[in-house]
């Protein structure tokens, strides 16, 4: 027998309480992991989506709070495209737009002359012809989510569009888009002659100096900022808020998990006061007695973390059913994130176990032995 064996025996003495405590830790870890993964998934998805478009830089209105927030006049696109070092530029109006049955799609409007249309990986159908209106190309996930197929009509912002193509993008965000002619989207969203961002390729994209020159030149045009996809998302206030909220809820969840451990061990040590007195009487040091109690906490924490990990993967099965964004997110927790959550749970559970352990050894052994 060792300390772990002793801890296992002690936990087995109160199976219901132990199981409930472990379940509490599991739920805390599982929800923290699922929540933080969800937040990261949305950010990563957006990042991958922009990268899939092959942009070197994204131009937005200076000070725009988020990816949907800034507005740039149409005519600015031509000025950006005309800058030295810029290979091509295309404006995009980008928004969450309601469709039928309370479902939303990520609507993207591109000018019919945009080079982006040529890069659409069509699974079937075609892209809009020059001057064609009220037609749409749906990402395959959006089509599936809306239950639409080629030739069907789809309602976006109250306007009916004929589906003329289904795109086969690889990233979750782009698979969930509805690509519309820019003029149509500007009209139905009441944003005439406006775009939210400009996609841009530079002539020598591999050269950081070139990128920097182009960025500076764009910013000299006034009221514009140019950044890479990573930089843009890092500055996005929506994502910052999402991160902060999910982190805060995760911390609260894990603290609650630690409180389960604390509660279980406070009760256990109170019930076993006499036994702790016996350990002292046979010469166990305070440190060893504390360690034996902390090991109980660690054992509960380890089992709870494994359970939490399993629960988070189960919770991920529900992600596709999240209203509005379900088809845009995926559950891909990084090893770093898993390690971070488990480490936080571990540290808090140990802290939760230390208090009852400290409390237990403070009592005079003779006093402890008098307890029933």
């Amino acid at each position: 027998m060792n300390l772990a064996g002793l801890a296992r025996r002690n936990l087995g003495r109160r199976p219901v309480r132990t199981c409930l405590s472990i379940l509490g830790i599991g739920l805390a870890v599982g929800s923290a992991l699922a929540l933080m993964s969800l937040s990261h998934s949305i950010q990563d998805g957006m990042r991958e989506g922009i990268n899939e478009m092959g942009d070197d830089l994204v131009v937005m209105q200076k000070g725009a709070s988020d990816i949907f927030g800034g507005f740039i006049p149409d005519k600015t696109i031509e000025r950006v495209a005309g800058l030295p070092g810029v290979a091509r530029a295309s404006g995009e109006l980008f928004m969450f737009a309601p469709s039928a049955d309370d479902k939303s799609v990520l609507a993207q409007g591109w000018a019919d002359t945009s080079y982006l249309w040529k890069k659409v990986p069509l699974r079937e159908g075609r892209v809009p012809a020059a001057g064609e209106h009220n037609v749409a190309v749906l990402g395959d996930a959006a089509a599936a989510a809306l239950g639409k197929k080629l030739g069907d009509d789809v309602v976006i912002l109250g306007q009916k569009f004929k589906i003329i193509g289904i795109a086969n993008y690889t990233t979750a965000v782009n698979r969930g888009v509805a690509l519309l002619p820019l003029a149509d989207l500007q009209k139905i969203s009441h944003r005439p002659e406006q775009v939210t961002m400009v996609h841009l390729n530079v002539e020598r994209s591999a050269a950081p100096v070139e990128l920097k020159h182009v960025k500076n030149a764009i910013e000299l045009l006034g009221d514009l900022s140019a950044s890479t996809a990573n930089e843009m998302l890092d500055q996005d206030r929506n994502f910052a808020i999402l991160d902060a909220v999910s982190l805060a809820i995760s911390i609260i969840a894990i603290i609650m998990g630690a409180i389960y451990v604390l509660n279980a061990l406070v009760m256990a040590t109170q019930e076993r006061t006499r036994e702790i007195g016996i350990f002292t009487a046979i010469g166990w040091s305070q440190e060893r007695i504390m360690a034996s109690i902390v090991v109980e906490g660690i054992l509960m924490c380890v089992i709870g973390c494994v359970l939490g990990l399993a629960l988070s993967f189960l919770a991920a099965l529900a992600f596709p059913y999240i209203p509005a964004i379900g088809h845009l997110v995926s559950f891909r927790p990084s090893v770093r994130l898993i390690a971070l959550v488990l480490m936080a749970a571990f540290v808090l559970c140990v802290l939760g176990a230390l208090f009852p352990a400290w409390r237990a050894v403070r009592m005079l052994p003779a006093e402890a032995l008098r307890r029933l």
């Binding site: 007195g277 040091s285 005079l364 003779a366």
Partner: protein
Amino acid sequence: MLQETEAIASSEKSSDGAPLIALRTVSRLYDDGAIAALTDVELEIQAGDSVAIVGASGSGKSSLVNLLCGIDYPSSGSVRWEGEPVRRQADWAKLRRTQIGIVFQEFNLIPTLTALENVELALFGCGLSTVRRQTRAAILLGRVGLEARMHNPVTTLSGGERQRVAIARAIANEPRMLLADEPTGNLDSTNALLVADLLFKLHADANVTIVLVTHDEALAARCNRIVRIKDGRIVETVDSAMVAPSIVGEAAS
């Protein structure tokens, strides 16, 4: 022999001839001084001695034993081990781990563990591997006649068997002093005699110092010295040779 035991038990007696353990003007008060369990107690116990502490219920016997093994602390005065005052709980823990064994009236075994595991507990922190701990615990249980029941949960053992497990646990680290607080108090006469014989055999064979708290005059008479305590004060210390021969004879029978 265990490492820690070797380090501490290097001498039978300190070089200046100090007693193994001594209480110097020790008082123990409870409830902010309202209750005096012990008052100005002076007691010396030499290595190899056997001492019985006798007295009525509530006279302070158990308080005295608690102070002798450091599971309680004096309100005033000092407890000295081989002449050195022991004050820190860590020092007391080390003494109990290596030099002092305790046997309680209520056995104080861990109910969820087997006899073997209970004895093994006393060997934690002695630098032994799990296998060596178990082997040693099995040998100790063999010495108290429980080799056949070592894997039984202690809750399935009789009172006498439990007390023998407690004795095996108390001698696990080859202590120099064994404190037994009413060790036969919860036992029938047959088991009481068996347990008493076991304790005095340890005293005789291994020269273990024995401090025995008891109501039983006959059992007390088997010790070299009898310390009588009344209302928290030592009122008499006598050599057992001075005790009436009838009592000694009764004890021997």
